[in-house]
């Protein structure tokens, strides 16, 4: 694995937040949305970028996609992930991400949903009605459809 490619993956804040969350275990896309408070496209693209470069692996579980760090990681990746986990302690963004993640994990008691049992991922479908609500292809883009998203989730 190319060292430069690793650093290229690390030089975007959203991707750093994603990787940081994955250090705590697998996650599905909808919870990335919930924790990061970023629009679906953005998250999906960054996950795609990380996957293309081998920094994460993905597995479909029903209608959800569970992302995780790869099982076996080349030395430089492992080293940089460890380094990242160290560096991240100070920045507040990452701390509150972690807090939100804990809250989500706590929500599941002993009766974890399927994805969790099978893959160690977290997903329950409770993340409904979030993100890009499609408008019947009328192509009428008024009414501020876009930006309400992030603030909506971070109450």
């Amino acid at each position: 694995m190319d060292l430069v490619a690793i650093y290229e993956c690390l030089c975007d804040r959203t991707r750093l937040r994603i990787l940081h969350l994955l250090l705590g275990g697998p996650l599905c896309v909808c919870h990335f949305q919930e924790i990061l408070g970023e629009p679906q496209v953005k998250i999906s693209k960054h996950l795609g970028y990380l996957k293309r470069n081998g920094l994460v692996a993905a597995e479909r579980c029903g209608q959800w996609m569970i992302y995780r760090l790869p099982e076996t990681r080349p030395a430089p990746l492992e080293a940089n992930l460890a380094c990242l986990q160290d560096c991240v302690r100070e920045e507040t963004v990452f701390r509150s991400d972690a807090a939100r993640l804990r809250k989500i994990r706590a929500k599941f008691g002993p009766d974890v949903p399927v994805c969790v049992r099978e893959l160690g991922g977290v997903c329950d479908g409770a993340a409904q009605t979030r993100g890009t609500r499609r408008r019947k292809a009328t192509a009428a883009g008024r009414g501020r459809p876009g930006r309400s998203f992030a603030s909506e989730n971070l109450r």
Copy 2:
């Protein structure tokens, strides 16, 4: 210091090589040229980039510029430099860079040049007649002036 900015600095191979060399102590630009075998402009720009972002410091010494890692480094920078030094052991580019650096350092016996004594840097002016030879401003750019450079130095 912003973590993302650090990673942005790290995601170019030339800059990685520069930082790796600086882990061994201060160096002047002409020896970066000699070791890396890259044209002067390229090296100067990358050094500028690193300096703008606080990853290196520079001090003029006569007609030479001595670059070094900053005296006091924020935690995330220190951590990533250490990580870099680890990751770099395997790749051959960095190993041969280190070898060339050792050769240069060995060249100076007890009689170190001024820049070395004053700054701990390495520079002797022996790196003459290298790089962009200026052509009396005739603005006639024919005759393949550009690319002969790199191969010229790596004999």
